[in-house]
């Protein structure tokens, strides 16, 4: 009885998992198929797959008989089985090659913006949180509330005036239009989380360090930071996740399209033509998912923490 119940659980969960994954599986499948193929049979497997597997045997035997291939556009290819096989592999990844050409500058911009913003948020955020947490000086409490207070202002309130401000500062169509507001906005959370963590560090540690003659910055660098590695990775991941996915802000601040990041770039690619090449488009979606996928695989635990802590979702209510 218990066993069959568990099988039923797996069936239900498996079905929901399949439903969740269906769009992505189709994107993956159709990223290897030309528009014509997709038009004729939406649910089919890539033709290339069949053609290439048929050539595996001859290619391994190193068949020298020439094979002639004619593609949709009428171009022809002629070569040995091995060359034909490689030709098909090349054809299969044609969408990826084209997509990479288009998304590469956007990916680069995303990396520049996200990494520099994250680095500054970590540096300034942890430093400020450390000072506010371990040192008492007039106004320290007020500064803390000054920092976390704006979390209550939703992005919908500040989008237009932020745009006007960045425009007035002459920062439109530059990295600074994204990096500076991201640093400012990201720090609120970073400081909120860091201060909570630093407050919990035992005072004895600092007492001992002071007796050993450590300077204030030494304590920050050699005690606080090493102890905070787990929370640093959570803050880092939340920050990168939020900025990487931010579409609206890069989209409105890059009117000339020179500094689009991956999120706004994907939209530009998808909307730039009425008849998009779907394999290229789908390949671009998948390529754009790789960096976060790698981050997810490399740092699964802090990633899950970052997502569930609730803080990350609070981020939605500010720029």
């Amino acid at each position: 009885m218990g066993h069959s119940k568990h099988i039923a659980l797996h069936v239900v969960l498996g079905f929901i998992a399949v439903l969740t994954m269906t769009p992505f599986v189709f994107v993956l499948n159709n990223s290897f198929r030309s528009n014509t193929e997709q038009y004729h049979a939406f649910f089919g497997l890539p033709n290339v797959l069949k053609d290439a597997t048929a050539l595996v045997g001859p290619a391994l035997r190193n068949d020298t008989k020439l094979i002639r291939i004619e593609d949709e556009s009428g171009d022809t290819f002629e070569g040995t089985a091995r060359e034909a096989f490689l030709y098909y592999v090349g054809q299969a990844f044609r969408g990826y090659k084209m997509a990479w050409k288009q998304v590469r500058p956007y990916m680069l911009n995303s990396f520049i913006v996200c990494l520099s913003a994250a680095a500054c948020v970590l540096f300034f955020g942890s430093l400020t949180a450390y000072v506010l947490s371990r040192y008492k000086f007039p106004g320290s409490k007020a500064i803390f509330y000054f920092v976390i207070g704006p979390m209550m202002f939703p992005a919908v309130l500040t989008l237009v005036p932020s745009f006007l401000l960045v425009k007035q500062l002459g920062l439109l169509n530059s990295y600074w239009a994204m990096i500076l507001p991201y640093i400012a906005g990201g720090q609120m959370f970073a400081i909120f989380i860091f201060k909570g963590f630093f407050d919990g560090l035992p005072e004895d540690l600092f007492e001992a360090a002071r007796i050993d003659g450590a300077s204030h910055l030494q304590m920050y660098w050699q005690i606080v930071l090493p102890l905070s590695k787990p929370i640093i990775s959570v803050v880092l991941i939340m920050n990168i996740l939020g900025n990487w996915n931010n579409f609206l802000w890069p989209f409105v601040t890059n009117s000339d399209g020179t500094h689009h990041v991956i999120a706004s770039g994907l939209y530009v690619i998808a909307r730039s033509t009425l008849n998009p090449d779907f394999s290229t488009l789908f390949a671009a979606y998948l390529i754009s998912s790789v960096p976060l996928l790698l981050m997810f695989i490399y740092a699964t635990k802090p990633f899950i923490q970052g997502v569930t802590s609730g803080h990350s979702k609070l981020k939605k209510i500010q720029p």
Binding site: V131, L159, P161, F163, L164, N245, F282, K313
Partner: protein, 301 residues
């Protein structure tokens, strides 16, 4: 150096270290917040000159603008829909995962349902728009494959289905953080409570409603508030997919603000819409902070 000088220098160091943060926040966070209120009182003319109009924009938005009330209705529909699905389906899935006997398979399912998070939100919207809802997309192909080609339509371009199609993006609504939040809540239920329930013969569906749901109430409240706030100010997906069309069938206030600002160049009017939405969201953000803390406290205990 005397004692006071030392103290002053110490304080000065503290202020210098936090200065960058304070300056950046003042410029890029506080200035826009203040401007949102002040600029909403001005009419911006093309060419840069602006003219003070007082509360006229607010009056226009609330009484004269024909888009306002339909947009609010769409927003409430989408928000209610999101609340219904985000509070139910992920909770059931989390419960199912939590009922699995082996730690390994529970972990694997949690990972599976989290993976869609790595795909950029824009890509998700575009995938739904181009691959699932379009004329030659998944749903229509599926309908003709099962012999119902008559039901096929452009789901996002048809005025009767556009709003519902927007609401259904992300079906079955489990690829995200909610499952994990509920799962954490279910894992946090003390073993003594589970044992007592078992002794009393409270198992299965009854336990789910009598024990599990009350015990994850703070997580439910957290997701409720976040979903409402997200629903009131979310319009990215609509901007990407329909830009409010067909007609104004999928326009929501946030999108109307965006269009006024960046398509019609009515920055002042857009600011006033933003302020109105802010006032609506403000109370909810307040609640959010309250419940957000209670969820955190529960985790610590």
């Amino acid at each position: 150096m005397n004692r006071l000088g030392h103290r002053t220098r110490y304080m000065l160091n503290c202020y210098v270290l936090v200065a960058t943060t304070v300056v950046l926040l003042s410029l890029f966070v506080y200035t826009p917040v203040i401007w949102a209120f002040t600029k909403s009182m001005y009419e911006f003319e093309v060419g840069g000159a602006s003219r003070f109009v007082g509360f006229r924009h607010y009056k226009e938005f609330l009484t004269r603008d024909l888009v306002t009330w339909p947009a609010l209705a769409h927003m409430f529909f989408l928000t209610c829909f999101a609340v219904c699905v985000r509070l139910s389906i992920p909770l059931v899935v989390a419960k199912l995962i939590h009922s699995l006997p082996s730690e390994r398979s529970r972990y694997i399912y949690r990972i599976i349902f989290l993976i869609p998070i790595v795909v950029p939100g824009v890509a998700i919207q575009l995938i739904w728009g181009s691959m699932i809802y379009s004329e030659t997309g998944f749903i229509n192909q599926f309908l003709s494959a099962i012999g119902l080609p008559g039901l096929a339509r452009g789901w996002l371009s048809n005025p009767h289905t556009a709003l519902l199609a927007i609401a259904f993006i992300g079906f079955p609504f489990v690829g995200g953080f909610e499952v994990l939040i509920y799962y954490a809540g279910l894992s946090g239920i003390p073993e003594s409570v589970n044992e007592a329930a078992l002794l009393e013969g409270c198992v299965g569906i009854r336990k789910f409603f009598r024990i599990d749901i009350p015990m994850v109430m703070s997580q439910l409240k957290l997701v409720l508030i976040l979903t409402i706030i997200g629903g009131l100010q979310g319009y990215e997906n609509i901007l990407i997919l329909t830009r409010g069309g067909p007609g104004f069938k999928t326009t929501v206030p946030g999108l109307w603000m965006y269009l006024n600002a960046f398509s019609f160049q009515r920055m002042g009017y857009a600011c006033s819409i933003g302020v109105c939405l802010f006032i609506l969201i403000f109370g909810l953000t307040f609640l959010n902070f309250k419940y957000f803390r209670s969820a955190e406290e529960l985790k610590e205990n």
